[in-house]
């Protein structure tokens, strides 16, 4: 016997107050759907446009910061459960301020769009590329083996440095990016904040080491640098037997 759930009450579309939503979409430059206003397909298109507005970056079409943070939290949970290796890359366009100052903000936007496109095309469809700040991007790479992490980051860097970006008629520009990356601790529930901090620390290192490069957090077996060892033993005098005060 067929059981049917009672039909949900229909919403009278005429009573919906969509003015604010439409205004929001208009301000964001989103194209309003062509369908007959208040038809089902028109409403669906408005909803889709609102979803895009809340989860995507308007300039590049990439995932925005808010959405990125949700994806990152979900990945932390997944890695804790599955033990898979997952890589977070933070990247930043080198000397971007100079681009804006020299060629204007329009050119700056062109550069951001071009870099975003190149990055998104270089990684796998399952990876999440987000614009998290002005000229800052982040990539979440689930199920990324630790031994290929640096190669992936390098490939992204090369692809961007190969770009010829047209910022005006016949005016081409080349930019470079710096990348920092860290793998999520496997099996262990960490926090999205810690993971971001670790990747950011490597991004600072890439900047400090001269930009246009990728730095990944060292693997655990080479975690202690010579500098740290030096400081660790600086004043220990472990070879004496004399009691201490």
């Amino acid at each position: 016997m067929e059981h049917r759930l009672p039909a949900p009450p229909l919403i009278d579309a005429g009573t919906l107050d969509l003015e604010q939503a439409l205004q929001l979409l208009q301000q964001a430059g989103a194209l309003l759907p062509d369908e007959r206003p208040l038809s089902a397909s028109w409403l669906q298109a408005v909803l889709d446009a609102l979803c895009d507005l809340s989860s995507k970056d308007a300039l590049t079409g990439l995932v925005n910061r808010r959405s990125f943070e949700m994806c990152l939290a979900r990945e932390v949970d997944r890695v804790a459960r599955s033990g898979e290796a997952a890589l977070l890359l933070m990247l930043d366009i080198d000397h971007f301020k100079a681009v804006n100052d020299t060629y204007g903000h329009g050119a700056g936007d062109q550069v951001i769009r071009a870099v975003a496109g190149a990055v998104a095309q270089t990684v796998r469809p399952m990876d999440i590329v987000a614009r998290v700040g002005g000229e800052e991007f982040a990539i979440i790479l689930p199920n990324c083996a630790t031994h290929v992490g640096l190669a992936v980051a390098e490939r992204v860097r090369e692809r961007v440095s190969d770009l010829n970006i047209e910022i005006g008629p016949g005016q081409m520009l080349n930019v470079s990016i710096s990348l920092g990356g860290a793998f999520a601790p496997q099996w262990v529930r960490s926090s999205p904040l810690l993971w971001t901090e670790r990747a950011d620390r490597q991004l600072y290192r890439a900047k400090a080491e001269g930009r246009n490069r990728a730095c990944l957090e060292p693997q655990i077996d080479s975690l202690v640098s010579a500098e740290e060892k030096g400081m660790l033993f600086a004043s220990l005098n472990l070879d004496t037997q004399q009691d201490l005060p």
């Binding site: 960490s190 202690v224 060892k229 400081m231 660790l232 201490l244």
Partner: protein
């Protein structure tokens, strides 16, 4: 998102055992020795203590305690024994759950092993005052996972440079990846009085410099004990006896008792 609730998901604090992981980075620094004797010292204070051999791949708590278990964690995992059958009395008045040699297949974590261990910890917690996790050496994913199961961590180190380096690396990983703000340090085989304090201070300085404090959440390494080199320890280890039972008056035994008192607050 998965629909089944994850047992490791953050849950409210509950009554039951305090969980303490004992780890070291480097092997052979006395991790199992400290764990076993600390368990006996806590038991002597009236606490109900379970030591869980979390060194799944290369367990040796049975060797230290001279136990010949018929049933182990492995049998619980494969459902050949119940948890009750596998929890054994150890000399010193505490209980042990030994990994056993059949655990080699579990030396790599799988989602299955992870869930089984979480489940077992959940089962034993309400029955004891303390669950001590004796982890393996190194900073492998298995060790880091075992440590993550515990509320508190003790890192055992000796004044050997290699041991200190590995202890430092372990603490660094715990601070940066597991968001631990507090780790206890036990300096074993100290050559002189005060060496523990010196080493702890030095480690703390390097950590502050290189791990970097998260604003508002300073990292604290606290010296929990200093166990001086002691001939009685050597004797007990070689004879596979519990030091606290056979040499209760020696300096090392006093240090272990002090460590238990500190834990009991």
């Amino acid at each position: 998102m998965s629909m089944t609730p994850d047992p490791a998901a953050s849950r409210p604090a509950r009554a039951g055992a305090r969980t303490l992981a004992v780890t070291s980075g480097k092997g052979g620094v006395g991790k199992t020795f400290v764990t076993a004797n600390l368990a006996a010292a806590l038991a002597a204070r009236g606490e109900k203590v379970l030591v869980l051999d979390a060194d799944l791949g290369l367990a040796n708590l049975d060797v230290v305690l001279n136990l010949h278990p018929k049933l182990t964690l492995h049998d619980v995992f494969t459902e050949k024994a119940t948890l009750e059958q596998a929890i054994l009395p150890a000399p010193g008045g505490f209980s042990v759950l030994l990994a056993g040699s059949g655990m080699v297949e579990y030396s790599r974590l799988t989602p299955e092993v992870r869930d089984k261990l979480l489940h077992i910890i959940d089962l034993v917690k309400p029955r004891f005052d303390w669950v001590l996790l004796d982890t393996g050496a190194g900073i492998s994913d298995v060790v880091l996972f075992a440590v993550s199961l515990a509320t508190d961590v003790l890192v055992v180190a000796t004044p050997e440079p290699t041991s200190l380096t590995d202890a430092y690396a372990t603490i660094k990983v715990l601070a940066t990846q597991q968001d631990r703000r507090h780790v206890g340090l036990v300096v074993n085989q100290a050559n002189r009085t005060g060496e523990g304090k010196l080493i702890c201070g030095q480690l703390q300085q390097v950590l502050q410099r290189f791990v970097g404090p998260t604003p508002g959440q300073p990292f604290r390494l606290e010296l929990f004990g200093e166990i001086k080199s002691d001939q009685s320890v050597r004797q007990a280890v070689l004879k596979r006896q519990l030091m606290l039972e056979h040499y209760p008056g020696c300096d090392a035994a006093q240090s272990i008792k002090a460590l238990a008192s500190k834990l009991l607050g």
